[in-house]
Subunit: 118 residues, 2 copies
């Protein structure tokens, strides 16, 4: 039995991180963390055209950072935290790996300094 949304491809790390790389898009995420908003209202505070914001939202949606829900002619946009989790987990993985290595190095050096004459 194939899953309902088997077609929906996962957002790649490429898409997620480059979506997060733009200040306007991060700002959109920041606003959406407070709750659902319409495209118009999201665009309002930015000094760029509505079209530009619409494009940014498209990028966020492609990266699965954001969802849309249509109500008449208004699109309600909300956060979709799944991609955030994917991005954070990638970072965490390598961060942990690296700090574990540093810790190992540190305790190695400590051990060395305890027996300086060998």
């Amino acid at each position: 039995m194939v899953e309902y949304n088997a077609i929906a491809s996962k957002a790649s790390l490429d898409e997620v991180f480059s979506a997060l790389a733009h200040p306007v898009r991060r700002s959109l995420i920041s606003r959406l963390a407070h709750g659902e908003e319409s495209v118009m209202r999201l665009a309002e505070p930015f000094p760029i055209s509505l079209n530009a914001v619409s494009k940014h939202l498209k990028a966020l949606e492609a990266a699965k950072l954001v969802k849309r829900r249509w109500e008449g002619r208004v699109a309600w946009v909300s956060l979709d935290s799944e991609a955030l989790v994917v991005a954070r987990d990638w970072i965490d993985h390598y961060h942990e790996f690296w700090t574990a290595r540093l810790d190992a190095l540190e305790s190695y050096l400590d051990a060395q300094s305890e027996e300086p004459d060998e």
Copy 2:
């Protein structure tokens, strides 16, 4: 008393996230998580020129994801996890904010369904 490295500007989220957005750069980070490496050896497995890898490392360095240590003519590159932490914390902040909202919404809806006739 001014700090030693007061000049070294912090890596911006722009730089960090766009550094992480490229597969070659993520792959470099992945390899560096296992330990320090020279530029030559880092470049080896990639199907692009050494120059291209050098540029990627420059981007990672600007984003403070990576450090260099010179030993003769060889540059030893290692992870600098500080920027990773900054990126992860940014994500975590909004992720927590958003999931908290979702939890609040859920319990609100639960409460509603407990008293359906009011």
